[in-house]
């Protein structure tokens, strides 16, 4: 099997990276952009930028329509009944911070906020700090041997004092799908809000969030082949209504006086100030692009690539995989070799991978590890990329051992 990618030429940066001698395998950190996104960005700027929702003139009209079209596109792609359930933020990280402030009044002293042991700092630290502000307790759900959130333990620990449950759909370290629907159901039974970190999960499927049953779901545009500076927060209507506004300024206010103000409901009430207009339009183009792909062919390609990656790693001596990744990535260590040394020599050979603790320091500590190497794939990755990676890996290990 040659494992060529029919989508590679849709992403102009891949040819540029090839020409620079770079093999890009850090897709879980951020993804390259299809031509459609670049075109949408330049069309917006070339035809006349304008602020959204504020003016009566034609450019504003055009910008607002394009901006709101993305909201509608996101709502449709993720199974939201209404575009009003989609709030634009500056990224997934900002979405979790929005939630940790917006839900603050629902968390009191002695209450519990539940996260899992595999959370990215972005979906851990806002909750940790909320717990500190409110004198609440942060409860950490343990993982089983494969690296999944242990549902039996979760059922014990999600209890009547739980106010918020915040968990990742797909781990950026272990690459495993987590049982978020089951966990959200456990939270619902206790009257707790459920928050799902879809930063990695959204890249590998536009999930029906109504069916998933969570209250909130967040992801970043830049990992989903769109521009940086844009995040999406989906909320169930009643959950959004429970949020207090957190950032204050233009456009989120319905009525303002010197001493008091009234605020809009979601989504506008949570989009203070000028939003990243071009970025949101670019995200819309990324979603349109993804919608136009043959989903089955894409899934086959990703599965074949991932299998080839795992097979290649398994065929080499002394390589230890972290967990048993389902998709898209693999984190590994090599016996007797420091991951920083390996990263150094892969970098020397033009292999762009990620070494370290991948913004999940507590998880690494729990695994008893100081870091690992992560290889992460994308639709435009092909068999040649993997071959170059394995060649570089072999040469690096030859030098280091």
């Amino acid at each position: 099997m040659t494992l060529s990618s029919p989508w590679r030429t849709d992403f102009p940066a891949l040819a540029a990276l090839d020409a620079q001698g770079q093999t890009y395998l850090d897709n879980a950190a951020t993804a390259q952009k299809p031509r459609a996104v670049l075109k949408a960005l330049s069309a917006y700027y070339l035809n006349g930028a304008a602020n959204v929702h504020r003016a009566q003139h034609l450019p504003a009209d055009r910008a607002t329509r394009a901006f709101e079209a993305t909201r509608l596109g996101v709502a449709r792609a993720f199974g939201a009944a209404s575009p009003a359930q989609i709030v634009f933020t500056r990224g997934a990280t900002e979405a979790f911070n929005l939630l940790a402030y917006g839900l603050e009044r629902h968390v009191g002293a002695g209450d519990e906020i539940v996260v899992s042991a595999l959370e990215h700092h972005a979906n851990l630290l806002p909750w940790q700090q909320l717990a500190k502000r409110r004198g609440a307790q942060l409860v950490v759900l343990p993982l089983d041997d494969r690296g999944d959130i242990d549902l039996a333990a979760a059922a014990q620990r999600i209890g009547p004092r739980t106010r918020v449950l915040a968990v990742s759909q797909l781990s950026n370290v272990l690459g495993r799908w987590q049982p978020v629907a089951e966990l959200a159901a456990l939270a619902r039974r206790q009257g707790a809000f459920s928050v799902v970190d879809g930063a990695q999960g959204a890249v590998h499927g536009r999930h029906d969030l109504a069916a998933l049953g969570c209250d909130f779901y967040a992801f970043s545009s830049h990992k989903l082949f769109g521009p940086e500076g844009v995040g999406v927060l989906y909320g169930r209507e009643t959950a959004l209504a429970a949020l207090a506004p957190w950032q204050f300024g233009g456009e989120m206010v319905r009525e303002a006086d010197y001493q008091d103000a009234l605020f809009h409901d979601a989504p506008m009430g949570f989009e203070a100030g000028t939003p990243p207009v071009a970025g949101v339009i670019g995200l819309g183009a990324a979603l349109d692009y993804l919608n136009g792909l043959d989903a089955l062919a894409l899934a086959d390609h990703e599965a074949a690539l991932h299998a080839a990656l795992l097979t290649g790693l398994a065929g080499r001596d002394g390589i230890r995989l972290l967990g048993e990744p389902h998709t898209a990535l693999a984190c590994f260590r090599v016996d007797g070799v420091h991951h920083a040394d390996l990263a150094h020599l892969l970098g020397e050979q033009g292999i762009a991978i990620r070494a370290g603790s991948h913004c999940a320091m507590p998880l690494y500590r729990r695994l008893g590890l100081d870091g690992a190497i992560r290889v992460s794939l994308a639709p435009y990755t092909d068999g040649d990329d993997l071959q170059r990676f394995f060649q570089a890996l072999d040469r690096a290990l030859e030098l280091l051992r």
Partner: protein
């Protein structure tokens, strides 16, 4: 300028100057790393740990008369090599000279400037920053007067 280089630095320059390939450079780095004088277990402690490195790194600095003596260790072999090259350049220099030394230029002359790029988390930048902080702190403490006697430094909050 090269005439004023300490002898170990001269040697480093000669060794690295004509290493065009990454493999030769890596081999040489590892060889240099082996030369680092090991730290005692007791010295590999929180006080000497340099934060902001991908691998654990320790830096021990001692004031020796008008100069400094540095020792360093790391778990990563290539970083050990970079540390050895750093120490080859700075060891024994008078404090005043050390404070104004352009270390980025030093690594550039060795053909290793990429190891100092801001996106690198290999720790060399953090080690340099720690070194500068130690020197600046010492400069303030002794008001610039050398010969304050041997003192072992640890930064605040280490």
């Amino acid at each position: 300028m090269s005439d004023s280089l300490p002898a170990p630095a001269q040697a480093a320059l000669q060794a690295f100057a004509d290493q065009p390939g990454w493999e030769q450079r890596a081999r040489l780095l590892m060889q240099w790393g082996e030369r680092l004088e090991p730290l005692d277990v007791a010295e590999r402690d929180e006080r000497h740990r340099v934060r902001g490195c991908e691998s654990a790194v320790w830096l021990v600095a001692q004031r020796r008369g008008a100069g400094w003596q540095f020792r360093a260790a790391s778990e990563a072999r290539l970083l050990r090599g970079l540390l050895a090259l750093l120490l080859a350049r700075v060891d024994g220099l008078p404090a005043a000279e050390l404070a104004s030394l352009d270390l980025a230029d030093w690594f550039a002359r060795l053909g290793l400037s990429r190891q100092l790029s801001p996106s690198r988390s290999n720790g060399l930048n953090a080690v340099l920053a720690r070194m500068r902080a130690l020197i600046a702190e010492d400069g303030r403490a002794t008001d610039g007067s050398p010969g304050a006697g041997p003192s072992e430094n640890a930064p605040p909050g280490a």
